[in-house]
């Protein structure tokens, strides 16, 4: 299998989109109304959520709560696919009851990850509302899931993947279209 | 009457000190001079080795009592395929061969269905229980060649002493399965590093050593022949070596599995490695090989012990002991001993021929004219993989499946009749 990558958005474009998303979220959920909490979904939803968190702090001066979620225990395909990778850290150490939670993920494709995240989140409490922020929306989810805050809308054939990359310091690395061919 | 000339083979006839290329003639049931044959069939055995027929001192034929695992017919067919012309049948059948009637059954069945000589062995004690002496005199009259309680060992030394004294008066050698029950303590594998690591109950080597010492003492005291079956422990070999140096009439045999496998094999819990005495440590294995090399142990015997798949396909603790061995004895022994350069081929041949013959007190055992035409032909250069699916034995409980071996039995002749041929 050879991997062919083609960049579709540069790091600079990624930065601009993240900035716009942070502004939109800050505007949608002002502190006066209780603000919101960000929960990033492993793996790349977490650095994205951290960037959004920093963006909101810069814009509003206040810090939204921050959590990380690994949805491995909520998948519906255990035993059907390849062996399971290591579960990453779930940390939601604030009370989610009655709060507005913004789930953050890098790419929305089938929607199944978000479905699992909704199940996981509601085992922690009963939020007032849950919204979804994604950097890339591929537009044709298998489940009725919609993103509320979107960086880029991208339409690609089903056999292509979209890869969002961050470096170890959460700096943008660009967005690639990835083609696995035999 | 069939006549054969076995031509161009390397003839190894230990008792007549022959080891040279030559021809052997067969007329009817006996050996004859080739020149005197009128219409012989010529069998060209260039590159092969011809010797007196191999004898296995230790075979479980399972009939009567466990014919699902083996019968006299299938067991003897396996013997023939393994190159053996005579086998000694152990008495722990159900019912036990502790009386003349049982021996008669064996002889008749073997005559009708067996393809090699079946030499009956009778129990020392009734049902092999180690409590009361069996009818040894009647057993002798019925035709047993030796006495054994194999599977078990007489624990009461006074009783054993009486058995040995009585057997001596009938000229019957004793073949003893040496095991002290207290020290064996219900173990399932050798007591050593591996039994400790695997958490299994161990059978101490001392259990064998103790009874070997007991037997040496009795053999010396009574001046009669006691043969130790399946010697597996290095201390046992040492005791035998010293006793034989003193001239005491003790002998010992080793099995092909005890010279090739060790207790580490059990870490997969494969019941094809469970037998009694158990596979021992590497130093024990090497000591047994040394015992063969220096003449302390004078016979190789298989302890061929068939078991059905159902019986063996259980947890290790619950599995019965034993593996089949007739069809792997020659290749495994050759590979471990001769191919590795530890002993010569003529020495190996003695371990399968004159060694056992002496233990059974045969007057002569060779290929002289007039001897019964019991002949084994092997191809010492043939290399192959053991394939249990080609076995003639009914059972498949072997640890050697897939092993690379050298030396194939290619022709077996029993009383002038060819019972196995793979030329």
């Amino acid at each position: 299998m050879t991997l062919r990558k083609k960049q579709i958005y540069s790091a600079a474009e990624m930065d601009r989109a993240i900035g716009d998303m942070a502004a939109a979220i800050a505007a949608a959920f002002p502190i006066s109304n209780g603000g919101c909490a960000l929960v990033g979904i492993h793996q790349f939803g977490v650095p994205l959520a951290e960037r959004l968190h920093d963006g909101i702090v810069k814009l509003t001066g206040s810090e939204p709560e921050f959590g990380k979620l690994d949805i491995s225990m909520y998948r519906d395909d255990i035993g059907n696919r390849n062996p399971l990778p290591l579960i990453r850290e779930t940390e939601i150490d604030f009370d989610i009851n009655d709060r507005t939670i913004v789930l953050v993920d890098d790419v929305l494709s089938s929607g199944r990850t978000i479905r699992a995240a909704l199940d996981a989140l509601t085992d922690y409490g009963r939020p007032k509302a849950i919204r979804l922020a994604v950097l890339v929306d591929r537009g044709e989810p298998e489940y009725p899931i919609r993103a509320d805050f979107v960086g880029f809308k991208v339409q690609l054939p089903a056999d292509r993947k979209v890869a969002v990359s961050f470096d170890d310091d959460n700096r943008s690395g660009g967005i690639d279209e990835v083609d696995w061919t035999k | 009457m069939s006549e054969y000339i076995l031509k161009n083979a390397r003839v190894i006839d230990p008792n007549r000190n022959i080891d040279s290329i030559g021809d052997i003639g067969v007329a009817g049931k006996v050996i004859e001079e080739p020149a005197k044959l009128k219409n012989p069939k010529i069998v060209d055995l260039k590159g092969k080795v011809v010797s007196p027929g191999f004898i296995d001192l230790h075979v479980h034929l399972r009939q009567p009592g466990n014919t699902q695992a083996e019968t006299i017919a299938t067991g003897t067919a396996a013997a023939a395929a393994g190159g053996f012309t005579s086998i000694v049948a152990m008495p722990n059948t159900t019912p036990a061969a502790d009386n003349a009637g049982a021996i008669e059954f064996l002889r008749q069945n073997a005559a009708a269905q067996g393809v090699v000589h079946v030499l009956p062995c009778g129990n020392m004690t009734k049902e092999g229980k180690g409590e009361e002496m069996a009818g040894i005199g009647s057993l002798k009259s019925a035709g047993v060649v030796a006495l054994s309680d194999d599977g078990k060992c007489i624990q009461d030394h006074a009783l054993m002493r009486h058995v040995v004294e009585y057997a001596k008066s009938f000229g019957l050698p004793i073949l003893d399965h040496c095991e002290d029950n207290h020290l064996a303590a219900g173990g399932v594998m050798h007591e050593g590093k591996w039994s400790v690591l695997l958490g299994m109950r161990g059978i101490s080597g001392a259990a064998e050593e103790l009874m070997i010492a007991r037997n040496i003492i009795l053999a010396r005291q009574i001046d009669w022949q006691i043969h130790m079956q399946h010697v597996s422990v290095k201390e046992s070999v040492k005791l035998l070596r010293a006793a034989r140096a003193e001239g005491i009439k003790v002998t010992g045999e080793a099995t092909p599995h005890h010279i090739s496998l060790t207790d580490e094999c059990i870490k997969r819990y494969d019941t094809n490695y469970k037998m009694n005495p158990p596979l021992r440590s590497e130093s024990d294995r090497l000591a047994v090989i040394e015992g063969i090399a220096d003449g302390t142990l004078t016979a190789i015997a298989t302890d061929h012990a068939p078991h059905t798949r159902t019986a063996k396909e259980v947890e290790f603790d619950s599995a019965p002991c034993g593996i089949v061995g007739l069809e792997t004895a020659v290749p495994v022994s050759y590979t471990i001993l001769v191919k590795a350069g530890i002993i010569t081929l003529p020495h190996l041949i003695r371990l399968f021929t004159t060694g056992p013959a002496d233990i059974l007190r045969f007057e002569r055992y060779d290929l002289a004219v007039g001897s019964t035409a019991d002949i084994t032909v092997i191809d010492p250069d043939a290399c192959y993989k053991v394939d249990k699916n080609t076995f003639r034995t009914k059972s498949r409980n072997t640890p050697f499946h897939g092993m690379d071996v050298q030396c194939r039995p290619v022709l077996t002749m029993v009383a002038g009749k060819i019972v196995h041929q793979e030329l």
Binding site: M73, P83, D119, Y124 | V196, L197, L198, G199, M200
Partner: protein
């Protein structure tokens, strides 16, 4: 790395990496039991059979609870009520269970190697809950997890396991796991119960309690069974307690932050006194909590490798 095994049979078969993988996974499952909703749907729709041919209460309850918190469907089978009593072979029994389309079998048996034997013959997963004196992998994993949690590491620690070592599957599994992760292991107890053969794999063997525990960072006490005394391995429980039991005086010559562990159930006054069991160095109850997390992690991982 990824978990690739459909069975958990013995820590001897696992690499250090694989052991750490289980511990890291368990760390996440531990959090599940600490939140409001103590369940996750990971094994929803999967069927687990608990086949305890050798009876048990604590381990079985721990496995059952782990299975429930993973949302699995559970069936419990015990030897007394099973067909094994009627003469069915073990292999036939488990094949019949597998024919019910079961995903995992959690088994305890008194014959060493029984689980390894059935695992080779089954497509469903097998988790070893104890096979004779050979192996009890989940117990060792929870012990090692507890050590790692409390001490921050395993490598380089001195761990002493005290008691009836020769008959103990807990001792053997701990030895394999600890050695793989780089700990220094000492076993100690009466000479009749602690064989020297363990020295051949790099374990220190000791028949004196003080020698064994003076430098220990962790002391793991194994339960003494009364049957061993009647079988002649040592003269009396009192003598065992006197020479190998841990009491407040023993603690005085041990490291002050040494952990006291015990797989349970404890015999107060034998392996350790009540004071020590309830004292600050004891992590016995945490072991129980961690056991649940370890078992959830193990069931989750092996279930992921059972192919339909």
């Amino acid at each position: 790395m990824q978990w690739t095994k459909k069975d958990l049979l013995c820590l001897y078969d696992l690499s250090a990496e694989e052991i750490e993988f289980i511990l890291d996974t368990a760390a996440e499952f531990k959090k599940v039991s600490q939140r409001r909703v103590k369940k996750v749907p990971a094994l929803r729709g999967k069927t687990v059979v608990n086949l305890f041919v050798e009876p048990s209460t604590r381990t079985r309850v721990s496995f059952e609870l782990a299975e429930q918190r993973l949302s699995a469907d559970i069936v419990n089978m015990q030897a007394q009520s099973s067909s094994l009593l009627k003469g069915e072979t073990l292999l036939d029994t488990v094949r019949n269970i597998e024919a019910l389309q079961v995903d995992l079998i959690v088994m305890r048996h008194s014959a060493p190697g029984a689980q390894a034997f059935i695992a080779r013959n089954l497509k469903c997963g097998v988790v070893n809950a104890g096979d004779g004196a050979h192996s009890h992998p989940t117990q060792a994993l929870l012990d090692i997890f507890t050590i790692r949690e409390k001490k921050g590491r395993v490598a380089g620690l001195n761990v002493a396991v005290i008691g009836d070592i020769i008959h103990s599957r807990v001792a053997r599994s701990n030895i394999w796991g600890l050695l793989k992760l780089g700990a220094k292991v000492t076993v100690a107890g009466p000479a009749t119960l602690v064989p020297r053969e363990f020295e051949e794999i790099g374990v220190r063997v000791c028949h004196n309690l003080k020698d064994a525990v003076a430098d220990a960072d962790v002391v793991n006490l194994l339960r003494i069974q009364r049957e061993r005394q009647t079988a002649g391995f040592f003269p009396s429980i009192g003598e065992y307690a006197r020479f190998f039991g841990i009491n407040n005086d023993t603690l005085k010559y041990m490291k002050p932050d040494a952990l006291i562990m015990h797989p349970g159930p404890i015999n107060r006054g034998v392996e350790l006194t009540g004071d020590v069991a309830d004292g600050e160095q004891s992590v016995i109850l945490e072991q129980v909590t961690n056991g649940l997390a370890i078992r959830m992690a193990v069931l989750y991982l092996v279930a992921g490798c059972v192919k339909k």
